[in-house]
């Protein structure tokens, strides 16, 4: 028993303290060093922060250099696959462009109106600072989904600035070094973004979910969303003041909602393809506006009123068009009915005429027969009156109708 305990102690001591060949530190000293690192890291001392910042800069740039060959291969592959899909994408893009051009005018009007309304409630934010940065490293950590960019405090990057890619929300800055910064992606489980679900105007909090998706939480009525068939768009709500309101994020995946109770958001951007990012900070617009701004607003107001008038005119013309179309349709219907009626009356008239003719003939026949009874003997050829006419001859008929032979003067 004593021997086995001794063996155990010896094995542990050997594992902890024995240095390998050409090793300067024992395992125990390095473990202690790690623990010291962890403990000191929890204090926000300037000296420690400075050292950490230097280590981070070195590691980020080392990572960037190491990933160069991998990125070259990845980019080449993407380029080749893009070329293969070029025509299909072109057709889709052309269709989308057509649709977007149609929507553009109404969007402009809505934007102007939105700006005016936000200004009224003092919620209009203007861009305070804008920096473009390149993604240095995109390490897919199991604990933190983030990317490293090549701009830091030297370029006025501050913690909390929001990060966009093509006007779509990507994340926010969570760590700033002198030359580099870290962006926490909205697909990370630790990311919490206050959002609005449009057009139902429901408020929610979005967190990261799986690789490229978000999950909506704290929604007042989840059934309402699940029951809807229309496309739901997720934008930032601006609650809490971290994110500006109205930045597009993605759309609600209705197919997924049918299978599960969770409401999943498909992001507009693919976070694995990030290359250049826009880092922005916003500030609330000052209420005291200078003269140039006033002029711009006045011009905008004029443009808005003109556009509104034009829109009203277009609406009226459209209404008139609809009404005239309806009238035309009615008239056409009536016309077809009347035509039918005319055709029917003509048919009836023809029938009537035919009847009349028949009756006339019958009347003439009756008249002839009556007169034949009375004056037939005056026209009928007999043995004694050989100059008169035979019964079935037309002259006999004329004679009967004339009530006998008309004497010539």
């Amino acid at each position: 028993m004593e021997t086995s305990r001794d063996d155990f102690v010896i094995a542990i001591r050997s594992a902890f303290l024995k240095k390998g060949t050409q090793q300067r530190f024992s395992l125990l000293s390095l473990i202690l060093f790690s623990i010291i690192f962890l403990i000191l890291g929890s204090f926000n001392l300037r000296f420690i922060e400075f050292n950490k910042s230097i280590i981070k800069e070195v590691v980020y740039y080392s990572s960037f250099i190491v990933t160069i060959p991998e990125n070259i291969i990845k980019n080449s592959f993407n380029k080749v696959s893009d070329h293969f899909e070029y025509y299909d994408k072109f057709v889709i893009v052309q269709n989308k462009l057509q649709q977007l051009e149609n929507k553009d005018l109404s969007k402009k009007i809505i934007t102007y109106e939105n700006v005016e309304l936000k200004r009224l409630i003092d919620d209009y934010f203007v861009e305070d600072g804008q920096v473009f940065a390149k993604v240095l490293a995109d390490k897919k950590s199991p604990f933190l989904k983030s990317v490293i960019i090549n701009k830091g405090s030297k370029n006025d990057i501050r913690i909390g600035m929001i990060v966009l890619d093509d006007d779509y929300l990507i994340g926010r800055v969570v760590e700033v070094n002198f030359l580099t910064s870290r962006i926490l992606l909205i697909s990370d489980i630790n990311s919490k973004v206050p959002v609005t679900i449009q057009p139902i105007n429901a408020q929610a909090i979005m967190t990261g979910f799986e690789q490229q998706k978000g999950k909506l939480q704290y929604i007042k009525d989840e059934k309402l969303i699940n029951d809807l068939d229309q496309e739901l768009i997720v934008v930032t709500s601006g609650s809490g003041g971290i994110f500006k309101s109205g930045i597009p994020i993605g759309k609600v995946n209705l197919k997924n909602n049918l299978n599960t109770n969770e409401i999943i958001v498909d992001f507009y951007k693919n976070f694995s393809q990030l290359k250049y990012l826009k880092i922005l900070s916003f500030k609330q617009e000052e209420t005291q506006l200078d003269q140039t701004n006033k002029k711009i607003f006045e011009k905008n107001d004029e443009v808005i009123s003109k556009i509104n008038n034009l829109q009203e005119n277009i609406k009226i013309l459209l209404q008139q068009n609809i009404i005239s179309q309806e009238i035309r349709n009615k008239l056409e219907n009536q016309n077809t009915k009347l035509n039918k009626k005319i055709i029917n009356t003509q048919k009836q008239l023809r029938k009537q005429k035919a009847k009349e003719k028949k009756i006339q003939i019958e009347n003439e026949e009756i008249k002839f027969l009556k007169l034949n009874l009375l004056y037939g003997h005056k026209c009928r050829r007999t043995f004694l009156k050989a100059k008169l006419y035979s019964i079935n001859s037309p002259k006999y008929k004329v004679c009967v109708l004339n009530k006998g032979i008309i004497k010539k003067n």
Partner: protein, 170 residues
């Protein structure tokens, strides 16, 4: 000429694990997060455990310590936690090596499972309780399971590589 060849072989034998360690940490392709649902594994754990178990002194504690710091910086977690985990893994491997008379892959495998369970427990506890990180436990469990399962395959691959490089020279 023969000496030069031997030197190259020895260099490859000694520094390939170091190269693999730093490349897997600094590269963007991370086996810990491959983008595949329900599949990921910690290649670094396998590498460190295997080489510390099979070689006296392993990859080199100082390299492992620095690699841990690099991993923390790149993954954005508190600096020192990965170093601590990697070094503790070295300790488990070194202890196992000291007490083992007849090496057996299955025993190594089971020891590796216990080691990574302890290390993940330390990591999750530290990140969750002291730093308020939210952790996807399902993915982490999957990660542990695949790390455990793939140790068997990778240990064979590493053995084959070592034999191919060193061969009779060893």
């Amino acid at each position: 000429m023969i000496n030069a060849k031997k030197n190259i072989r020895y260099f490859l034998y000694k520094y390939t694990p170091v190269f693999l360690l730093f490349t897997s940490i600094l590269n963007e392709i991370d086996f810990n997060n491959l983008g595949v649902k329900y599949f990921s594994f910690n290649f670094v754990y396998i590498l460190i455990f295997y080489y510390n178990l099979k070689r006296d002194g392993g990859i080199g504690y100082i390299f492992i310590f620095i690699a841990g710091l690099f991993n923390d910086v790149i993954n954005g977690i508190p600096m020192g936690i990965s170093s601590l985990c990697y070094l503790l893994l070295c300790f488990f491997a070194a202890y196992l090596r000291n007490i083992t008379l007849r090496p057996n892959l299955v025993k190594d495998w089971i020891s590796f499972l216990i080691s990574i369970l302890i290390l993940n427990f330390i990591t999750f506890t530290y990140l969750f309780w002291f730093n308020n990180y939210e952790i996807d436990y399902l993915n982490q469990t999957v990660n542990i399971i695949f790390t455990f399962l793939l140790y068997f395959i990778f240990s064979h691959l590493f053995t084959i590589y070592d034999k191919a490089i060193m061969g009779r020279f060893k």
